[in-house]
Each structure stands twice: as structure tokens, then as C-alpha cells.
């Protein structure tokens, strides 16, 4: 029980009468790779938006390491240790790759330096900048993006943009990482590569990862447990291959 990182209780939200998500109960243990699957419009991204404070839940609540995070702002939730990527990539397109990651490092205590230190160029500024650059390079190396660090983010190919987004989220030093369709738009080779990376960062950073994905190969190859959503409700939960073979799930995907 104590190694549960994320617990949601009866999480739900309604948009003007439409129950977008209702009574989602998740329990994700430390270092687990957990999948959230379901047909389009099932409410997967909405769950992410609830967990990151973009939307406030109308029912239920959620806990990270036993601490209730419901009602906190997006910034505060990130500080508490939930980081995410976006379905439609949201990089800072006009910044170089390394700067994107450095924005992620912004709040790390070891790089703290207040605006006036920077404005007056006190020694603390140079120390922080240099340390951040070094750390960002390290993170980029894991994703194989070190060579590209000085290119503008918008000039990267799609697959690398996805990776960069994960790198940037990782830079905020989260306990729980939410990946929204990380393999979308990738070719099989890149997907394979991404699976290795995801496993590697999980091990290296002691991460717990919750991911949304449509590529079932990716999900079954990576996740040990999944939750299947349909029309905002939980269809089934449990061990991956079992859940995917559930007749209800097949019906939801393929129709009657």
C-alpha cells in the first residue's frame, strides 16, 4: 500500500451536463508503467488534464504519494511531482532544443537564482546557468538529442519533437510522468527506440509512468497494467494482455 504513487478516487468531471469522465479509480505503484487506453473521445486526455490541474474535477479527488493534489494550480502540481507531455506537441518552437530542456529545469532547487541575481549578473547567475546547461545536455544525451541541441525545436523531425517533449518533462524531476500518445506519428523503428528510452528513464530516475497510447504493440510491450476507458467510464482494469482480450474491450474498439 505504501508504494502507491498515484491514487485517484472516483475522479470525474462534467462539461455542462456531459459526463466527460466519471468515477475513475486508479492505483499506480512506484516504478510501474501503466497504460491508459480507449477509443477516441473516451476521456483519456481529460484524465491527464484533471491530474495536472488544467481542469478541476467535479467529483472525486486524487493523491500523489498520499498527498491530496485536488484544487491545486498547474504550477503547484508540477512542483509536487507530476509532469506531462501533450497530445498535440507543445514545444517552445522558437527556442533551441537545449533551451527547451532548460525551461524544464527552471524550478529545480539546485539551479535556483532569483531574478535580481540574474539582472545584476552576480556570480550565482553564472553558476546556475552553467549547471543547468550541463544537466540539460545530460538529459538530452539519454534521448539521443545531444547533437541537435542547438537547432530550433520547430526544425526537428516529428519523432524527435516527441522525444524532446518527454525530455523537457523529465527535466522537471517528476515522480510521476504522464505521456500523452508518445509514439503517435513515429515509425516502427522509432517506436522501438522510444520503448527502450521509456524503460531506461523509469529505471534511471525511479519514475512512475502513466501513458496514453493507441499503438497496442507499444502498450502491450511496455505496460504491465492498463485501464481501458470508454465514454468516460472505466471499461476494465488489470494486467495488460488480460484486459486487452476482454470481450468488452474488443467490442468497444471494433463495434458489435
Amino acid at each position: 500500500m505504501s508504494d502507491v504513487v498515484l491514487r485517484t478516487e472516483d475522479l470525474g468531471i462534467t462539461f455542462g451536463g456531459l459526463k466527460a469522465v466519471q468515477s475513475v479509480n486508479l492505483e499506480i505503484r512506484k516504478k510501474q508503467l501503466y497504460g491508459l487506453v480507449g477509443p477516441n473521445g473516451a476521456g483519456k486526455t481529460t484524465v491527464f488534464n484533471l491530474l495536472t490541474g488544467v481542469y478541476q474535477p467535479t467529483t472525486g479527488t486524487f493523491y500523489l504519494d498520499g498527498e491530496e493534489l485536488k484544487g491545486k494550480t498547474q504550477e503547484a502540481i508540477n512542483h509536487k511531482g507530476i509532469a506531462r507531455t501533450f497530445q498535440n506537441i507543445r514545444l517552445y518552437n522558437n527556442m533551441s532544443v537545449i533551451r527547451n530542456v532548460m525551461v524544464g529545469l527552471h524550478n529545480q532547487p539546485e539551479f535556483r537564482c532569483n531574478p535580481f541575481t540574474s539582472i545584476l549578473r552576480l556570480p550565482g547567475h553564472y553558476k546556475a546557468e552553467e549547471a543547468m546547461r550541463a544537466r540539460a545536455k545530460e538529459i538530452l544525451r539519454i534521448f539521443g538529442l545531444e547533437e541537435e541541441r542547438n537547432n530550433l525545436a520547430c526544425n526537428l523531425p516529428y519523432g524527435k519533437q516527441r522525444k524532446l517533449e518527454i525530455a523537457r518533462a523529465l527535466a522537471t524531476n517528476p515522480k510521476l510522468l504522464l505521456l500523452d500518445e508518445p509514439a503517435a506519428g513515429m515509425n516502427p523503428h522509432e517506436t522501438e527506440d522510444l520503448m527502450h528510452i521509456v524503460r531506461r528513464i523509469r529505471d534511471e530516475f525511479d519514475l512512475t509512468i502513466l501513458l496514453i497510447e493507441h499503438d497496442m504493440k507499444f502498450v502491450s510491450g511496455l505496460c504491465d497494467e492498463i485501464t481501458v476507458l470508454n465514454f468516460g467510464t472505466v471499461l476494465t482494469q488489470g494486467e495488460t494482455s488480460e484486459a486487452l482480450n476482454n470481450p468488452e474491450v474488443i467490442k468497444a474498439y471494433l463495434g458489435e
Binding site: 504550477e75 518552437n93 522558437n94 527556442m95 525551461v103 527552471h106 531574478p115 530550433l152 518533462a169 527535466a171
Partner: protein, 385 residues
């Protein structure tokens, strides 16, 4: 340590060329003044150029780097001009030196403006986009309205500043103004070229992603806004020490727009551009003042209007993108220099500090394409009928 410092971004020629340029200009002007070759009207022009640069650079911080539109920059300048000069006048009874008076009032005027920036920014920055424009506009009008009517500031006659105004006997005001320009550049560029500057551009580029990265959006917006207001206040204090009387009519909405024109002309997010554009527009204004009188004065505003519309359309309209790639100054320079470049330094790490193209939301642009295609398809269908 020193060696490391010299190797850092701050000491790259590209990043301190504007300090050099301003310093050289200042030295040349001082030299000319000492030779008696600088007419008085030109010394006045230099003061105008100086405070225009301060205004444009600080507004660029809000519009270009933070991506919020403020139409009240003249309002903050107004606060600085009235309050700072008022303080200076009071001080002049105690302190003899005009320079000391100016420096103290500069700080006070700047802080006052910053305080007002805080008051206005606090409610406005919690809202999205266009609201800030209208609230700052409203603020500018409120400030003017209040200073016009308060008994201490000369009411409709304006605040008479002859007690502290710099005259021929004093050290030329433009020297102090230009030193302050250097200080402004130093502070603003240091902010922009730091982790905080990165956070600010991140907010502009993608606010949602910035929030998700844990960046305190409200804090940074407010910080930039207050910071810029401070410099607008300082510029106002200079204005108060250069002209008399300080009139509320000067700080109208039109003046805010004039500063905005400087920022847009110079390029949003380009500090060097702001410096050049502020100089250019101030000089043009100065030259046109005599040439255009009466109704023809409207020509000036016509030019402003065309600059604003032309540049924004050229930079942002999807239709013009191919031309932009071919004819924008950046592209032309690139073409000229491309041959002489080693492949290794084409994309240096510092490439995006100074010039950041105005953002375009890709998904929305795509929608427009779909729209065009859809209407084309509809047309084709109609023709078939």
C-alpha cells in the same frame, strides 16, 4: 573565474554590440559638444532619442518577449514625469546639485511607476490576452485624468518644471540620459538572457506548456510588467527635466501607440531593432515637425498606420510567407553571408537570444488551409451542378 566570465555569452561581440554602439555615439556627441559643434536643438533631439530608446526597449520586453500588449506605456511615463519631477522640485529647495536631484527623482519616479504597474497588472494579467490592452489603455486615461485635476500638479496648465530643468549652464542632459540608456540595456538584456528570460519567452511561446513545466506564469507576467513600468517612469522623469511644463496631454493614447510603432518597426523581441527604430522615429518626428504643419501633421500618423499594418501583415499573414522568406532583411543578410560560413557555426547556441520571429500558431494556420480547400471543393461542386 575571469576567463570563464569572458567566455560566457555576455561577452560575445554579438551580444554587446549595442553597448558599444551607444557608447561610441555618446562619446562622439560629447566630443562635438565640447568643440561647440553640436547645436542646442540637436542636444535636445539626443535627449528625446535617449528616452525614446528607454521606452521602446522596456515596452519590447512586454510586447515582444512576454507577448502581452500594453497600451498604457505613456501612462506609466506620465506617472514618472509628474511624480518624479514633483519630487525633484521639492528636493531642489534642499539640494543644490541638479544632478543629485535628477538621480533621486529618477529612482522615485521609476518606483512610483512600477508601483502603479503592479496595481494595474495584478488584476489585468490574470486575464487572457486582449484584456490587458484595454485595461492598460484605461489606466493611461485614468492617470491623465487624475493628474489633470489634482491641485498640486498645476491642473490644466501642467506642472512647471523650470526649477529643475537642465539649461545651458548645466552639464548636458543627454549625457545622463545616455548613461541611463546603457544601464537600461544592461538590466533588460541581462534579464532576457537568463533562466528568467527563458521562462518569459516560454510563456509567450506556449503558456499551457509553461504552466505544465511549473513556471509561475502570474509571477513572471507581473514581474516583466512592473519592470517595464519602472523604465517608463524613468523616461518620464527625464522628460520632466527636459521640458516645461509637463503636460498631461502629451501622454495620450497616441503616444503609447508611437512607442508601440517603434517596437513593431524594430521587430518584436529584438532589442537592437527597438534601439534603431526609436532613433529613427524620433529623428523623423524632429525633421517632420517643421515640414508638416497643420492638417498635414496627419501624414505622420498615416505613416505610423502603414508601418504597423504593413509590418504585421508581412510578418504574420500566411499568404506572405513565401515573400517573407525571400525578402526579409534577415533572409537577405543570410544569403549574403552564407557562402563565407563554416557549416559548424550556422546554428550557434546563441542564435535565438536577440531575434525571435513572431509566433504563428501552426494548427490554426492549418485550419485556414482546410478552409481554403473546402471552399474550393464547394466551388467545384457548384460548377458541376
Amino acid at each position: 573565474m575571469v576567463k570563464k566570465l569572458l567566455k560566457s555569452d555576455d561577452f560575445k561581440l554579438k551580444n554587446c554590440i549595442n553597448y558599444l554602439a551607444v557608447t561610441v555615439a555618446l562619446v562622439v556627441c560629447i566630443f562635438m559638444k565640447s568643440q561647440g559643434k553640436l547645436p542646442n536643438s540637436y542636444a535636445n533631439l539626443l535627449v528625446q532619442i535617449g528616452y525614446s530608446i528607454i521606452l521602446a526597449v522596456s515596452l519590447n520586453l512586454v510586447v515582444g518577449f512576454l507577448g502581452e500588449l500594453s497600451l498604457g506605456h505613456a501612462g506609466f511615463m506620465c506617472v514618472g514625469a509628474y511624480m518624479g519631477t514633483f519630487i525633484s522640485i521639492q528636493l531642489s529647495e534642499v539640494i543644490d546639485s541638479k544632478i543629485v536631484c535628477l538621480l533621486i527623482s529618477m529612482l522615485c519616479g521609476g518606483l512610483m511607476a512600477a508601483f502603479f504597474g503592479f496595481l494595474v497588472g495584478l488584476p489585468a494579467l490574470r486575464l487572457k490576452g486582449d484584456y490587458l490592452a484595454i485595461v492598460t489603455l484605461a489606466f493611461g486615461e485614468i492617470v491623465r485624468n487624475i493628474f489633470k485635476n489634482l491641485p498640486w500638479f498645476g491642473k490644466a496648465m501642467g506642472l512647471t518644471t523650470s526649477a529643475v530643468r537642465f539649461t545651458k549652464k548645466d552639464i548636458p542632459l543627454f549625457i545622463i540620459v545616455f548613461i541611463m540608456v546603457l544601464v537600461t540595456l544592461f538590466l533588460v538584456q541581462n534579464l532576457v538572457r537568463s533562466k528568467h528570460g527563458r521562462a518569459i519567452t516560454a510563456i509567450r511561446d506556449n503558456e499551457i506548456a509553461a504552466k505544465a513545466m511549473g513556471i509561475n506564469v502570474t509571477f513572471y507576467k507581473l514581474f516583466v510588467f512592473v519592470f517595464a513600468a519602472f523604465f517608463a517612469g524613468v523616461a518620464g522623469v527625464f522628460y520632466g527635466h527636459y521640458t516645461t511644463p509637463v503636460m498631461y496631454t502629451f501622454f495620450s493614447y497616441n503616444y503609447s501607440i508611437e512607442i508601440l510603432v517603434m517596437v513593431v518597426l524594430g521587430g518584436m523581441g529584438s532589442i537592437n531593432g527597438s534601439i534603431i527604430a526609436a532613433t529613427l522615429i524620433t529623428v523623423i518626428n524632429f525633421k517632420l515637425q517643421d515640414a508638416l504643419s497643420g492638417d498635414l501633421a496627419a501624414l505622420k500618423y498615416l505613416i505610423y498606420a502603414l508601418i504597423l499594418i504593413g509590418i504585421v501583415l508581412f510578418n504574420n499573414a500566411p499568404k506572405f510567407r513565401p515573400y517573407k522568406e525571400r525578402f526579409a532583411p534577415k533572409a537577405l543578410i543570410k544569403k549574403l553571408t552564407e557562402k563565407n560560413r563554416k557549416p559548424s557555426d550556422i546554428m550557434s547556441d546563441e542564435a535565438d537570444w536577440n531575434k525571435i520571429p513572431t509566433k504563428i500558431k501552426m494548427d490554426e494556420v492549418l485550419t485556414v488551409d482546410v478552409q481554403d480547400k473546402l471552399s474550393a471543393a464547394q466551388k467545384a461542386a457548384k460548377e458541376e451542378e
